[in-house]
């Protein structure tokens, strides 16, 4: 027969271990070393790297991108810097949204006019969103409902006292604390400064690279379920007007190499299940899927390197020419 022994039994039955005391010589030696230890800690303390201790004021590449002066506006010396670990301190609850959208870093600068007696009249937030599409998504989510287009950066929207724009992977938000301040000039200056950054050049235009289908009349970002299709996420949609007045909608959706096959399978399975004809043709080097869609009308999808391009229009001569020119441009 076995008996379970509980911790309480052990405590009750076991005698306490004998108390050990260090010899006097050892204790004296430790006491003598104490001042040396204190001196060492003091010396190390004087050699610290401030950026390791104060993560808000560290010297990241982002801080260097914000101009010190724009017209009469003077940047305040202290920049606040936030990373993933402390973004919540600034956006107070909305951090998860930014993190989910690809957030990497944020620098906040305040700009003061000579007439600003109390607080600075302008705050500039510079978000590094990692990639242009993420920056564009945040721009549209934050400003799309009420903002009117403004010609700053790769895409810009202006509110009553604010401007949001993107440049490459950066999303920039300018907020003024008084009416009628000419903040567009600051936005332009910040945009120019960003152009000197390591990441900005060239990349942003990729998000908006579409064939020349006409005059651009609208651009929007759709985070998920584009046109009700669960498999199309993070879509940039553009509306074009042709010379004859026809409006064409086109979209591009990012497709990573590892998801290419799976996505195409989902796409084809969906339309097969719908009983919708999908015909594949080749135009020069382009592979074009033409979809005879009873709900969307005839449209086409062009799988390209890194993204898919969709055009809600039948394949006519103009469109064929625009697609081939687009492919040639690479």
């Amino acid at each position: 027969m076995t008996v379970a022994v509980t911790a309480a039994d052990r405590r009750g039955s076991a005698a306490p271990p004998p108390r050990r005391v260090a010899p006097v010589a050892v204790r004296l030696l430790l006491l003598a070393l104490l001042p040396l230890l204190v001196a060492l800690l003091y010396w190390r303390g004087q050699q610290y790297d401030p950026s390791l201790l104060d993560f808000k004021s560290g010297g990241s590449a982002l801080t260097a991108l914000l101009p010190r002066q724009v017209d009469l506006w003077q940047r305040e010396p202290t920049l606040r810097q936030f990373g993933k670990e402390n973004l919540y301190e600034y956006v107070n609850g909305h951090a998860e949204y930014f993190l989910g959208a690809g957030f990497r870093a944020l620098v906040v600068a305040e700009y003061r006019l000579p007439t600003d007696t109390r607080q600075p009249s302008l705050v500039v937030d510079l978000y590094d969103m990692g990639e242009p599409l993420s920056a564009f998504g945040v721009l549209m989510d934050e400003n799309g409902a009420t903002g009117r287009p403004v010609a700053v950066g790769d895409a810009g929207l202006q509110g009553e006292r604010s401007i949001g724009f993107i440049a490459g992977p950066y999303y920039v938000k300018l907020a003024a604390f008084a009416d009628h301040l000419p903040i567009e000039g600051v936005a332009q200056a910040v945009h120019q400064a960003l152009g000197k950054g390591p990441q900005a050049s060239g990349k942003a235009s990729l998000v908006f690279a579409f064939p020349e289908l006409g005059t651009v009349t609208a651009t929007r970002f759709v985070k998920e379920n584009y046109h009700g299709w669960r498999f199309l996420q993070r879509v940039v949609e553009r509306h074009f007007q042709r010379a004859d007045g026809t409006v064409i909608q086109a979209f591009r959706v990012p497709v990573a190499p590892q998801q290419k096959a799976d996505l195409e399978q989902q796409f084809l399975a969906f339309f097969r299940q719908e009983g919708t004809a999908v015909t594949e043709t080749k135009e020069a080097d382009l592979r074009i899927l033409q979809i005879a869609d009873r709900y969307e009308g005839d449209w086409l999808l062009v799988p390209l390197e890194g993204f898919w391009l969709g055009v809600f229009h039948p394949l006519d001569e103009d469109l064929r020419g625009a697609l081939q020119a687009f492919a040639r441009r690479g």
Partner: protein, 406 residues
């Protein structure tokens, strides 16, 4: 299916077949695989005395992704579409669909007395008659149609004051505008909707008994509505139509089989077992939603459904803020708009409608900011369903605010 329902169903399907290119596309499908049979609306019910027979499961266009979704829904037998000027570009997309679907008289469109602004854009009590008329004119323009089947006074009970909301409900200018719009053939029926959180039952009862309203749309689900059965019976007795919304009780499960039944189907069938309810309106965002929801059309509530709902209630009963309950509304001495804040939090978390939730929260006169350091929260004790209200309000404020910390 009764013969009349079958005939109505056939009529709408025939209308769907009239979409340009629709039949041809099917026949020309490269045919190895037969297309899957799509779920259809299988039951249509009378909506009070309006003369409308609506599909038991109808289209909520609050997050409409494309015009094509409307055409797809028509093709699957849907004939009632609920939209609003403050539902993004929903009206414009429906208008786009109407330019292709020429048989306007085969479908019913309901919109709201609202401005095309971020939600909520409702016209408040005391708005000029011209404002109400202009709101409908704007809607008609966006919809590319010359009449609305139904216009709603929307979301009554959103404000705390019963008197203020009663004024909005029976506003003379609104009633005069409606009369004028009806005479001009631009509006056919007047309706009111409410998802609470304040005075849902007294306000809808006032609407039903006022004689001005042709139908009401109310939040209605299996979780808790003690007096709503009385209300819908009164409405039925007076020939006022009843439509249900917020039927998924927070939609905390999606396409999940709970207790032997698909949760959405169980929740819909519970609502539709009430014969006074003509139909329910549910937000449809994807083709998958449409196909999933329509599988419940025309089917009967079962014991397995009840088990599913019981299980859902057990799982989420202490986190779901009952729409239309409002027990906590007077509990906060600071006047924090508890139920609306928790509703917006639900939009953010459960519906994935983050932007709308944050915009609506920003528009509230009193946020949950004081809850962050509330010394003596009285709201939690006020909730008879045991929700940790104080904690939920703090979480909601953190989720829904974008303003930088000062």
């Amino acid at each position: 299916m009764r013969r009349r329902q079958f005939l109505q169903s056939s009529m709408v399907m025939a209308a769907g077949a009239a979409l340009p290119g629709l039949a041809g596309a099917r026949e020309s499908a490269p045919g190895s695989n037969q297309p899957a049979e799509k779920p259809q609306v299988k039951s249509y019910r009378k909506l009070g005395k309006t003369g409308i027979s609506m599909g038991d499961i109808s289209f909520g266009a609050g997050k409409l992704p494309s015009a094509a979704m409307i055409l797809r829904a028509i093709d699957q037998g849907m004939n009632y579409f609920d939209t609003a000027p403050d539902y993004g570009n929903s009206e414009t997309l429906i208008g786009e669909a109407l330019t292709r679907f020429k048989q306007r008289d085969k479908i019913h469109i309901a919109s709201k007395y609202c401005q095309p602004a971020p939600y909520p854009g409702h016209l408040s009590a005391g708005s000029a008659k011209a404002d109400y008329i202009a709101a409908v004119e704007g809607t008609l323009q966006r919809l590319h149609t010359d009449y609305l089947d139904v216009v709603f006074v929307h979301a009554i009970g959103e404000k705390g004051s019963l008197e203020e909301e009663r004024r909005r409900l029976l506003d003379d200018n609104m009633l005069a505008a409606t009369e004028e719009l009806k005479k001009a053939g631009k509006v056919r029926h007047l309706a009111v909707s409410s998802h609470g959180p304040n005075n849902l039952e007294p306000l809808l009862t006032a609407a039903v008994t006022s004689g001005h309203y042709d139908l009401v749309m109310t939040a209605f689900n299996f979780m808790k509505f003690p007096k709503l059965p009385d209300l819908i019976q009164t409405a039925a007795a007076r020939g006022v139509g009843v439509i249900a919304m917020k039927t998924l009780a927070g939609a905390k499960e999606s396409n999940a089989e709970v207790g032997g039944a698909v949760f959405e189907h169980a929740a819909f069938r519970w609502v539709l077992k009430h014969s006074q309810v003509a139909g329910l309106v549910v937000t449809i965002k994807t083709v998958d939603d449409l196909n999933l929801y329509l599988q419940a059309s025309g089917t009967l509530f079962t014991a397995a459904d009840q088990r599913a709902l019981d299980q859902y209630a057990a799982l989420h009963g202490q986190s779901y803020c009952r729409t239309g309950c409002g027990d906590c509304m007077t509990a906060c001495p600071q006047g924090v708009d508890i139920a609306n804040i928790l509703r917006y939090q639900m939009y953010f978390e459960d519906y994935g409608d983050e932007k709308r939730a944050m915009q609506s929260y920003a528009a509230l006169p009193r946020s949950a900011a004081p809850c962050l350091d509330c010394p003596a929260p009285t709201c939690t004790q006020a909730c008879e369903h045991g929700l940790p209200v104080a904690g939920k309000l703090q979480a909601a404020h953190r989720t829904l605010t974008f303003a930088p910390v000062a």
